[in-house]
Amino acid sequence: MTLAQLSWLDLSVAAALVVLLAVLAARARLEVSRPLLISAARMVIQLALVGFVLEALFAHVALYWVSLMAMVMLILAGWEVVARQRRRLAGWWSFGISTGAMFISSFSVTVFALIALVQATPWYEPRYAIPLLGMLLGNTMNGVALSQDRLIEGAWQQRDVIEARLMLGQGWQEAMGSVSRESMRSGMIPLINGMAAAGVVSLPGMMTGQILAGSPPAEAVKYQILIFLLITVGSGFGTLLANRLVARRLFDERERLRVDRLVEMQSR
């Protein structure tokens, strides 16, 4: 089976539908048209560029090139997490914590999967390493961004309740109680929903891609299961770690709630 070729005209038709959606949203004054079009344009440009980069990377298999690509992806993911928040920790804290948590979780899970499960030769073979890391980072980024936004907003809106609990001698973790739980939940729910609906409601992207490219469905399914499990572990640990570090930073060494450490972002 050969892959059906897509022409630029095919892509233009799909793009026209997005423009139509933006026009309708603008008429309804939903204020999503601008970010929708910007994101769509970014996606096209970024994917086109990454296509060239991947071709070059696959042609020159070297650990330092793979590492460089991975670091660029990580920094951009950290940047995206910060950019999606209404409020963030002042200075480099939000970026640092998000990037650090994503680095620890996504990179360790990717390296583990490459060495112990995929067993490619060499282990950093970019054909496996980059897509795997990309999927892990993308999902971890979503989890970290969602949960961090919810955590900081929750702490801001419920600062009086949190302080009331501190006044009654509760520790910072107990005082953050429901705010921490809610933020973890919002970070993990997309993953949990994704797994629960996989194969029943939706056919996941990677599996669909492999099948379209001609892989036997049974083989594509195995890869997809592996990816789902790895994404869940990487994203879950990343979200947990980032959540914990951000929550700690909201309090000082005397466990005072420090909302003065937050800055409001300009709406994009």
Binding site: D160, A164, L166, M167, L168, G169, G177, S178
Partner: protein, 200 residues
């Protein structure tokens, strides 16, 4: 009377060079214009805001206590109480029925929904909730601001009993000069960012 709480050279931004002591079982009132820094001073003593200066309890520096230990001993009750669970009883685990009764509530109050409480009920229950910790010092920010005359009398009587029975020391913020003289043995006033003795 022996000194229980000692505050030395405390600077919380809006009030500077604060020095005073609070004896065991003593009540000291604190007055001042709105925005003069009364609440900030209470928050600084409860270690809720960043500030400079020394605060000691029973001769021990605050740094000897963990933040949670400190706030259980030196407990602030804000002017407006905040609640995190739906039912009153969840917040009143340690409150004996006798305290609730003294503040005008029957034991059924534990089953009440927090959202249905009036501001006066919230204020009295906020006091009971803090008192359940058996603090050494209570920092009360206008504890009777939302209460009617009868409830004010109940609260004043209940707090006076606590002082005499348990030796609880109280720093009581009030705008009411008559109440200050009625409940406190000494009174301070914040004027031009400094703490000045108002009476005796």
């Amino acid at each position: 009377m022996s000194a229980c709480l000692v505050v030395e050279n405390l600077d919380c931004g809006s009030v500077r060079e604060v020095n005073f002591t609070l004896a065991v079982g003593e009540c000291v009132s604190l007055a001042g214009a709105s925005g003069s820094g009364k609440t900030r001073l209470l928050r600084a003593i409860a270690d809720l805001d960043v500030h400079s200066g020394t605060v000691r309890l029973g001769g021990k520096d605050r740094q000897c206590f963990t933040p949670a230990q400190w706030r259980r001993r030196v407990t602030m009750v804000p002017a407006e109480s905040h609640w995190w669970a739906d039912t009153v009883g969840v917040h009143l685990n340690g409150s004996p029925d006798v305290d609730l009764e003294a503040l005008g509530f029957g034991p059924e109050v534990r089953g009440w929904a927090v959202r249905r409480l009036s501001s006066g009920e919230r204020q009295r229950l906020g006091l009971a909730r803090a008192a359940a910790l058996e603090p050494v010092v209570m920092l009360l920010d206008e504890p009777t601001a939302n209460l009617d005359a009868e409830a004010i009398e109940r609260v004043e009587h209940w707090l006076a009993e606590r002082r005499q029975r348990d030796g609880t020391a109280i720093l009581w913020v009030t705008h009411n000069a008559a109440q200050a003289v009625r409940v406190a043995q000494r009174g301070y006033r914040i004027t031009a960012s400094t703490l000045q003795q108002a009476f005796p």
